[in-house]
């Protein structure tokens, strides 16, 4: 674990709260809204691309610690721009973005790598390293932070068990199904136990049944206290999840349903059962 740099303070704090194995914790104390700190805060953020396209237009919102939030919108509405701004792959044209109290504009190029270690990222196309086994892909996330061999031996099998990949340790990504690859990608994103997990269309390439499994896994991670932000255009899935929804259109926030019709202490089993309920299943895909 990166305990050398200042930003990993968040990680340590969160770990202490959640215990050594945060995944095993089933219930999380629900904090009063007033006491909760914003993990993500966008204030008047605009992004114009050099081509002249507007990615985001004066967007402001904030996401609290422990939230499970969907970012929805049509293609080109700015979902990916938000994600890419959050991992500092892009710079905003104007406005400030704060993540866990850090102003992203203040982070120097050299420190970006250290900043990214506090964010787990899951992509639609998985972005696994093709020349490494499942085990090594997950281990790489620990190796970049200078994790010792012992730490890797301890943590990697744990996280792979959590994501249900214990039997695929020595497979290469191209020997896995899409759902399994996405699980590896989630395992890699979460092995450092980051306080924030971003998922850009995590189910975009997967069939509905596998998508439910992936959502369930993300929900499980959220229940350990990790803030989860998911960009998705799968409207049916989002509606059924009944979590907070931010909708973007043409670079503006057009909907922010902060309180869905959900209970926060739903178990993952109940959650999955609800997702599999007949109404949400797209017809003809059974």
């Amino acid at each position: 674990m990166a305990s050398t740099d200042s930003q990993s303070g968040i990680v340590r704090r969160r770990q202490r709260a959640a215990g050594a194995l945060p995944i095993a914790v089933e219930t999380r104390p629900i904090e009063a809204p007033a006491q909760r700190r914003s993990v993500i805060e966008f204030r008047g953020v605009s992004k114009r691309y050099p081509s002249g396209d507007v990615g985001l237009d004066e967007v402001s919102f904030s996401i609290e610690r422990g939230d499970f939030v969907f970012l929805v919108g049509a293609t080109g509405s700015g979902k990916s721009t938000v994600m890419r701004l959050l991992i500092k792959e892009l710079e905003p044209t104007q406005g400030t973005i704060r993540v866990a109290g850090h102003d992203l504009n203040q982070i120097k190029r050299k420190r970006i790598a250290f900043y990214r270690r506090n964010i787990g990222v899951v992509f639609q196309d998985f972005k696994l390293l093709p020349s490494r086994t499942v085990y090594d892909n997950v281990a790489y996330a620990l190796q970049v932070t200078g994790g010792s061999r012992r730490e890797i031996r301890d943590k990697v099998p744990d996280i792979l068990r959590l994501t249900g990949l214990s039997t695929k340790l020595h497979n290469y990504p191209d020997q896995l199904s899409g759902g399994e690859q996405q699980r590896v990608s989630i395992a890699r994103a979460f092995v450092n136990h980051p306080p924030l997990l971003l998922a850009d269309e995590p189910t975009g390439n997967l069939d509905p049944e596998t998508s439910v499994d992936i959502m369930r896994l993300l929900y499980r991670i959220n229940r350990t206290g990790t803030t989860v932000l998911i960009a998705s255009h799968d409207q049916a899935m989002v509606d059924k999840m009944r979590r907070r929804v931010l909708e973007l259109a043409h670079g503006r926030i057009v909907r922010d349903e902060a309180t869905g019709l959900y209970t926060r202490d739903e178990t993952t089993r109940e959650f999955a059962r609800r997702l599999r309920a007949p109404s949400g299943r797209p017809p003809g895909l059974e």
Partner: protein, 294 residues
């Protein structure tokens, strides 16, 4: 621990992408082979050109009746001319012996010695030969330097040609060397670039996971060092085998043709190894820069 990790990473990527690594290795091997052959050839050419230039001299022929005192006076006068490096005196008796040994039949017919006492005047630099000639023969207007001088050899056009040709050879060799070195660097750098381009997605992912630039770069640099060293060592092995098999048996013949001094084999080995490792390591590190901007 870190170094061990980077070396393991380098070995892994070489194993997993054997074809690009092999292409880079082959490129280094071939360029080093060409350089290894070319460097001694350029040196030999320059050596030959210099030895030709070293033979550029002015001959001063004394009058038939010149005395030993005349010879001594002329000698000291010649030595006072600027840029004269050396003066060799060949008495008529010595000259006769040399010539008679070379052409015995012709000199038997001749009977007497027609040769004059001669001074070979060697300039400190071949390009001064014309100035010295002018000083000795008295230039355009006046007579020769000393009254006992019969004539001064007039090899002006020959000298001019030798100077021009040797200059051309030296310059051509230098230009070729520079071109070859540049071509080698470009070739190696491009091959590395191609093999990196194939892995740019991987680099992007590493960056997104939070790897620092140098964390990504070190394995590539180490891979470059390994590929460069292997390529250069193979080239050296081939060159060494060729030298032992082909050149060394001919060494005795080379000395007959005034063997030009060339680079020592050990120095050549060091130069090739150093160049191979440096170019491919620096090439890997620099080529990666583009892909690190994520």
């Amino acid at each position: 621990m870190r170094l061990g990790f980077f070396v393991r990473e380098a070995m892994r990527s070489m194993r997993r992408s054997a074809a690009p690594s092999f292409a880079a290795l082959a490129t280094v091997l071939v360029t080093m082979l060409v350089l290894g052959v070319f460097i001694p050839i350029v040196q030999a050419t320059n050596g030959a050109a210099n030895s030709v230039r070293g033979r550029v001299m002015v001959d001063v022929y004394m009058k038939a009746g010149s005395t030993a005192a005349d010879d001594a006076r002329v000698r000291s006068e010649i030595l006072q001319i600027p840029h004269v490096k050396q003066v060799q005196f060949v008495s008529k008796a010595t000259a006769y012996k040399q010539q008679a040994a070379q052409f015995p039949q012709a000199y038997q017919l001749l009977g007497s010695n027609p040769l004059p006492d001669t001074f070979h005047v060697i300039p400190s630099n071949p390009s001064y030969v014309l100035a010295i000639h002018t000083a000795l023969s008295g230039g355009n207007g006046g007579g020769p330097l000393d009254s006992s001088i019969a004539s001064v050899s007039n090899k002006q056009s020959d000298t001019q040609k030798i100077l021009e040709v040797t200059n051309l050879v030296t310059i051509t060799a230098a230009v070729l060397t520079v071109l070859l070195v540049v071509a080698s660097i470009l070739l190696i750098a491009n091959t590395i670039r191609l093999s990196l381009y194939a892995r740019r997605r991987e680099v992007e992912v590493m960056k997104l996971v939070g790897a620092t630039d140098w964390f990504i770069r070190w394995p590539f640099v180490i891979e470059g060092i390994i590929v460069g060293a292997l390529g250069a060592l193979l080239a050296i092995a081939v060159l060494g085998a060729t030298k032992i098999a082909l050149l060394d048996p001919l060494a005795s013949n080379w000395t007959l043709i005034a063997a030009p001094r060339t680079i020592a084999f050990t120095v050549l080995v060091a130069v090739l190894l150093g160049a191979g490792v440096l170019v491919s390591a620096v090439g890997s590190g620099l080529s990666l820069r583009r892909f690190l901007r994520v």
